[in-house]
């Protein structure tokens, strides 16, 4: 009897679970079919845009500054009359350095807030997490950070550098300086691993030796062993793809091991002016960085950008490459929307190709087919004042080549 009753309870519970699961599935499928493209809400005299950055967690050190500079661009555009006569209303979300959170918040910005475009993400892991969300909803993401390339999405505009605009010029610079061997240190996720795959292919084709390759989890702060390995490998240079605050621990350890820019220079691709402050200038003096923009980059557009940023956030706040790329992203979106005469994603995408903008880093051009932008590459050296000064530049904007199709040594990478 009790067994029978037990079975009935069990069966009841099972039925309930199955029903609940079916209901959940049902709502899910209806979600994705309705996801033909949630159109932005532009009924009033405002248009919403989404800001999706990590305001907490290990990436906050970098991403907060990007948020600040997006806000600056939005305010400037609003002060100048808005976009298509509408004021921009920013809707901010915190990705919290956590990739599933990024996807969740992206969905929320698109479906609930019905934003016309989203600006943000920093790590490639967060971009990879939100990519399907934007593609499913046919919504636009403007991604402002240099990354590992080998990607292209119709619903993402990449305003930071791809590998042929940052990492390859960085390697070219090392080669021109006569460096014959490198040691690779990076955070353990998609950007450093892919970047290092590209670096190894480059090294093989250019007679450079890669003496070692080590990864630390994001947020890791114990670099004793890695620095010991780097030191005993006696490489000519270190190529550093560490992200976030791991850099602080790495460079402190590097300095206390007696290594410096003269004995073994480090080229970093993810440390900009804001991070230099957080790491400590004395640990980074004369070390190299590869970017497309520095606060010290000459030009009227940059002078204006730097002055406006400092007026808003404080004289001691530096500007950096990802901040500039985020600032430019908002202006590029404005240009695209104006040219399209509409906020509709497909019309904006069609209008995008060939749009140019006099950015703080110099003239940038949107490449229609790849949705990346042509940018000038710049190698810089960290000064005692924490600012980075250019030691080399590519002279002209480099056309984006995310799949490295124009480099014979890169065949088979993508």
């Amino acid at each position: 009897m009790s067994l029978f009753r037990g079975r009935r309870i069990l069966a009841g519970t099972m039925a309930f679970v199955v029903a609940a699961a079916l209901a959940a599935c049902g709502s899910k499928t209806s979600d994705s079919t309705s996801g033909k493209g949630v159109s932005a809400d532009v009924s009033g005299d405002t248009v919403k845009v989404g800001l999706l950055n990590s305001l907490s967690g290990t990436m906050a050190i970098s991403e907060v500054t990007v948020r600040d500079s997006i806000m600056l661009a939005v305010e400037e555009i609003n002060a100048a009359g808005g976009v298509l006569g509408k004021k921009i209303v920013p809707v901010g979300e915190d990705g919290a350095s956590d990739w599933p959170t990024f996807a969740e918040k992206a969905e929320k910005l698109i479906s609930e807030d019905r934003v016309a475009a989203v600006f943000g993400c920093w790590t490639s892991a967060s971009r990879k997490a939100v990519k399907p969300v934007f593609e499913k909803n046919k919504a636009l993401l403007f991604y402002p950070v240099q990354y590992e390339g080998l990607e292209q999405s119709p619903y993402i505009f990449y305003t930071g550098a791809t590998t042929n605009q940052q990492i390859v010029p960085g390697l070219d610079y090392l080669k021109a300086q006569g460096k014959k061997s490198v040691y690779l240190v990076g955070s353990d996720y998609v950007f450093p691993r892919t970047a290092n795959k590209i670096i190894k292919a480059y090294a093989k084709a250019n007679g450079m030796t890669v003496l070692g390759e080590d990864y630390a989890p994001l947020g890791s702060t114990e670099f004793g062993t890695i620095v010991n390995k780097v030191k005993s490998a006696k490489a000519d240079a270190v190529f550093n793809t560490l992200n976030g605050d791991s850099n602080v621990a790495f460079f402190k350890e590097y300095t206390s091991a007696g290594l410096n820019a003269t004995s073994m220079p480090v080229v970093s691709v993810s440390i900009a002016e804001e991070e230099v402050k957080g790491i400590g200038t004395q640990y980074l003096k004369d070390q190299l960085t590869a970017w497309n923009y520095y606060q010290t980059t000459p030009g009227g557009a940059n002078a204006k950008f730097v002055a406006a940023y400092k007026a808003k956030y404080g004289a001691d706040k530096p500007t950096s490459d990802p901040m500039e790329a985020a600032y430019v992203a908002v202006y590029l979106w404005k240009e695209m929307v104006t040219k399209a005469g509409s906020f509709e994603v497909e019309k904006v995408r069609t209008a995008a190709g060939g749009i140019t903008y006099e950015a703080p880093e110099g003239l940038v051009t949107v490449d229609g087919p790849t949705q990346h932008i042509a940018k000038t590459a710049r190698i810089g050296k960290v000064g005692a004042d924490g600012l980075i000064t250019e030691v080399w530049n590519s002279g002209q904007p480099i056309k984006p080549d995310p799949y490295l199709k124009s480099y014979p040594w890169a065949t088979g990478l993508s």
């Binding site: 907490s56 990864y215 621990a249 402190k252 350890e253 957080g278």
Partner: protein
């Protein structure tokens, strides 16, 4: 050979950091059975104290020396506040202390973010501690690591002496071994608890000062360390300083060796597997305390 010695030193210095972080926990968790998840945030408080002091004291060396006692007091005071407001009500309910102090740790992180901003802040290291000592055979030993090692040893010695030789130490040991009997014998157990918590939390503050020499100072700096610190205390044997000391250095060397031979992530796995295997063999930890109150 050079590399081997360098790695050994790296391991010992990882162990020293672990020990500094775990020492306060060994007191509060080991001796009082309180799982204090906010311990990591007390470390953070110590690190930010160093940062604040550097704003006023320009000499990096002096500010570091001043920071040691001040951070001890600041973190200790935070600990006492936590004990008086919350933990006192939760003694003998270790799982509840875990939840409550976890909530407190999140609040403290947000408070730090509001006060100091989310980006990391930096402190200047004294010139004396930025260099390294070159030993014969080409081995170099970083000064800041030596300093931390010294600090860890000093903290262990001071704590051991205090527990063995002072009246307070005797009272703490009495309360740990049998709270009821201690109370009946006229020991003010509540006051002893509070003092123990002050010292345990204060040690976290000192660990925070030491960590400013190694890594980032940010709101989440404590969370990276708290798990490792609990492992040290549990594997060492709850209530046993001796066990924590041995296990901290053993795990440090194991981590460094594993990392040298493989990669950082694999080394972490090796350490965890070793810990699981060890606890299968000795669930009570390396050393055990014979008491009636702590099973």
């Amino acid at each position: 050979m050079t590399v081997l010695f360098g790695q050994l030193f790296t391991g010992v210095s990882i162990g020293a950091v672990l020990l500094l972080v775990a020492l306060g926990l060994a007191l509060t968790f080991g001796q009082m059975n309180v799982i204090n998840m906010a311990h990591g945030e007390f470390i953070m408080a110590g690190a930010y104290t160093t940062y604040v002091l550097q704003q006023t004291i320009t000499s990096a060396g002096w500010s570091l020396l001043v920071a040691l006692p001040v951070a001890f007091a600041v973190a200790g005071a935070l600990g006492v506040l936590l004990e008086v407001l919350l933990i006192r009500r939760l003694y003998a309910r270790p799982l509840d202390t875990l939840l409550v102090t976890w909530g407190v740790s999140l609040m403290l992180q947000q408070a730090a973010r509001d006060i100091f901003g989310s980006p990391n802040v930096q402190t200047r290291a004294p010139a004396l501690l930025t260099g390294n000592v070159a030993l014969p055979g080409g081995v170099t030993v970083a000064n800041n690591r030596l300093f931390i090692l010294g600090l860890a040893v000093a903290a262990v010695v001071a704590l051991t002496l205090a527990l063995r030789l002072t009246p307070l130490g005797r009272r703490i040991r009495a309360v740990v071994q049998n709270r009821d009997l201690a109370a009946v014998s006229g020991i003010a157990t509540a006051r002893v608890d509070r003092t123990t918590f002050f010292v345990g939390s204060g040690l976290a503050g000192v660990a925070g000062v030491a960590l400013t020499l190694l890594g980032p100072i940010g709101p989440t700096m404590g969370t990276n360390l708290i798990i490792d610190a609990f492992l040290v205390v549990v594997v060492g044997g709850i209530g046993q300083l001796k066990g924590s000391v041995i296990v901290a250095f053993a795990l440090g060397v194991l981590q460094a060796t594993g990392e040298y031979l493989t990669t950082l992530s694999v080394a972490k796995v090796i350490v965890f597997v070793a810990i699981v295997a060890f606890l299968q063999w000795r669930p009570q930890g390396l050393f055990t305390l014979r008491t009636r109150s702590l099973a």
